[in-house]
């Protein structure tokens, strides 16, 4: 990938990120921050390549820590985001669903 192509990708992705978030209601700010936190867990693939090509013990140690942290970012980010979003229901959906509270 040439440098200028990478720059185009960078620019277009930056606009995309802005546009995707721009119209988000406040109620979803926390889940969305958590969701975007999950998305940068893609660092896992980079960490895998770094560890996969490591030669010395130092490189392997750092690479191992990198994959460990990245996997934590991806999995933890997914679990907490999913838990939060699972709870968002409209009153229509709620009536048919689980009954809440002690009546």
């Amino acid at each position: 990938m040439t440098g200028i192509v990478a720059l185009y990708i960078f620019m277009l992705a930056a606009f995309t990120g802005y546009e995707v978030i721009a119209k988000v209601p406040v109620i979803l700010h926390t889940p969305l921050m958590s969701g975007s936190n999950f998305v940068h867990g893609i660092v896992l693939v980079g960490a895998m390549v770094a560890l996969g090509t490591a030669d010395t013990t130092l490189e392997k140690t750092i690479g191992f820590i990198g994959v460990l942290l990245a996997a934590g970012n991806a999995v933890g980010g997914y679990v907490v985001t999913e838990r939060m979003l699972e709870m968002f229901k409209s009153s229509g959906a709620n009536k048919g669903g689980r009954s809440k509270g002690a009546h």
Partner: protein, 462 residues
């Protein structure tokens, strides 16, 4: 394998699909109706990208890779499943810090290896390493503060200058490495040490109330670091996902700061969040208390009740009781709405999560702009666990530190009931003028117990 289906094509094609799934996932997460499916889409993309990466050519150390993934995933899964909803902000900080640390680790492997990279690649590797390391240690401090592990705000005179010097040192060391002037392991180590220290000293003086903005900022920074390391590795999925998070995170950070009526610079460099503004203008009048039974009658025969929940409600675990009370009132024909201030809870949207956990449907919940005009027609405004966000001094007292912050107009309701544990001031230490108004009554007691009494009072009416 046929020639046109090389491993490289499979990998690149899968990364393209992953980028598509991430963007569509985030898009779906921006509406409450589709939000749930959004994270599933993004999750599918992540799984795909991880699996095809095993096909990367010339890779070794597979046992190490698999061991690290299994251990990291298991610990994160376990901790993510059992964290309480009230603790969600610090958990996001922790996972975010791990991502930043991973980006820094990629940079470290590249820099220690001292490969023959061009100037641009080296600069990006160093920049990603710096940002990732700052995000890592800074996020850990943010986690420690919100979790209550770090109780003090460490401030000393000349702190900003110290941080600036530290940044200059880190940049100088990074510059030496990037320009191939001296890329010895000792210099690389010193560079990362300076970056990690900078993350710590930058975050320590910031108060707990401002932490959400800081976490959001570090989230954006981690995205940027991931994108930079993506350039270094020639990995398009990392560039796209990292950049999307970087720009989306920057926008989210701005939205949060604006909701708190603070500028980002103010959050990072002033250290208000905890110290409070001290005594603002004198408040006249007295607080008048009321009994739960009287409030029950008032609410049961009202036509419209607006509930203003705050973090205090969640701490008292009163949200389930509040929803039970709401259902009782709705059954009697009372219109009940929830008014959420943009910074209710620990971060924007946190209160919505906490109410959703109790089963409150999101269409009963209104944000500040939607609901503020409605307070004048409300018979009762029930403030539970909220304080600064309903303080009228933000409207008219220029000497107050919260002057200019948009507030919920609870004082405009015919009756305002404040559920409060004791007579003390709020999180920011600012006296609340609302409590002294003629139409305000204080219902003292623990949030959960007070609401249980209200439920009993409404039920007693029959």
């Amino acid at each position: 394998m046929p020639a046109f289906l090389s491993a490289d094509l499979l990998i690149q094609g899968s990364y393209l699909l992953t980028a598509f799934l991430f963007i569509m996932g985030l898009k779906r997460m921006s509406s409450p109706v589709t939000a749930r499916s959004g994270i599933v889409w993004a999750g599918a993309g992540m799984l795909l990208a991880t699996l095809v990466t095993f096909l990367y050519p010339d890779m070794t150390n597979y046992p190490l890779i698999i061991a690290a993934i299994v251990v990291g995933s298991a610990v994160a899964w376990w901790s993510g499943k059992r964290v309480a909803m009230t603790d969600m902000p610090q958990m996001i900080a922790l996972y975010n810090g791990m991502g930043g640390g991973a980006a820094a680790a990629i940079a470290a492997v590249e820099l220690y290896r001292g490969g023959d990279h061009g100037l641009v690649t080296m600069v990006l590797a160093v920049a990603g390493g710096l940002i990732g390391a700052v995000s890592f240690s800074g996020s850990l401090i943010a986690f420690g503060k919100l979790q209550g592990l770090i109780k003090r705000s460490f401030r000393f005179s000349g702190q900003q200058i110290f941080n600036l010097l530290l940044l200059v040192v880190a940049l100088a060391l990074g510059g030496m490495v990037a320009l191939h002037l001296n890329a010895s392991p000792a210099i690389v180590t010193a560079f990362f040490a300076a970056a990690l220290l900078l993350g710590i000293t930058m975050t320590l003086p910031i108060g707990g109330a401002d932490m959400p903005v800081v976490i959001s900022l570090y989230n954006a920074l981690t995205g940027l670091a991931v994108a930079f390391e993506g350039f270094v590795l020639g990995n398009a999925a990392m560039i796209i996902a990292g950049t999307v998070v970087g720009s989306a995170g920057t926008l989210l950070t701005q939205l949060m700061a604006r909701a708190m009526n603070r500028s980002l610079g103010n959050v990072l460099f002033s250290g208000f969040g905890e110290s409070g503004g001290g005594a603002a203008g004198e408040v006249t009048g007295s607080m008048k208390s009321i009994e739960a039974s009287d409030v029950g009658v008032m609410m049961a025969f009202a036509s419209k009740v607006i509930i203003i929940p705050g973090y205090g409600m969640a701490v008292a675990q009163a949200q389930h009781k509040v929803w039970e009370l709401t259902q009782l009132l709705v059954d009697r024909g009372v219109t009940v709405k929830f008014a959420i201030h943009p910074v209710a809870g620990r971060m924007p949207g946190h209160m919505n999560v906490l109410l959703a956990e109790a089963g409150v449907p999101y269409d009963l919940i209104a944000d500040l702009d939607e609901i503020n005009a409605e307070f004048e027609t409300a018979d009762v405004a029930l403030v539970i666990g909220a304080n600064d966000v309903v303080n009228p001094v933000a409207r008219n007292d220029k000497s107050s530190p919260i002057y200019g912050m948009p507030i919920l107009n609870a004082d405009k309701a015919k009756n305002c009931i404040v559920v409060k544990r004791g007579q003390g001031a709020g999180f920011s230490g600012i006296e609340n003028a609302l409590f002294y108004l003629d139409n305000t009554r204080m219902l003292y007691g623990d949030g959960q117990k007070a609401v249980a009494e209200l439920i009993a009072a409404v039920k007693a009416i029959g």
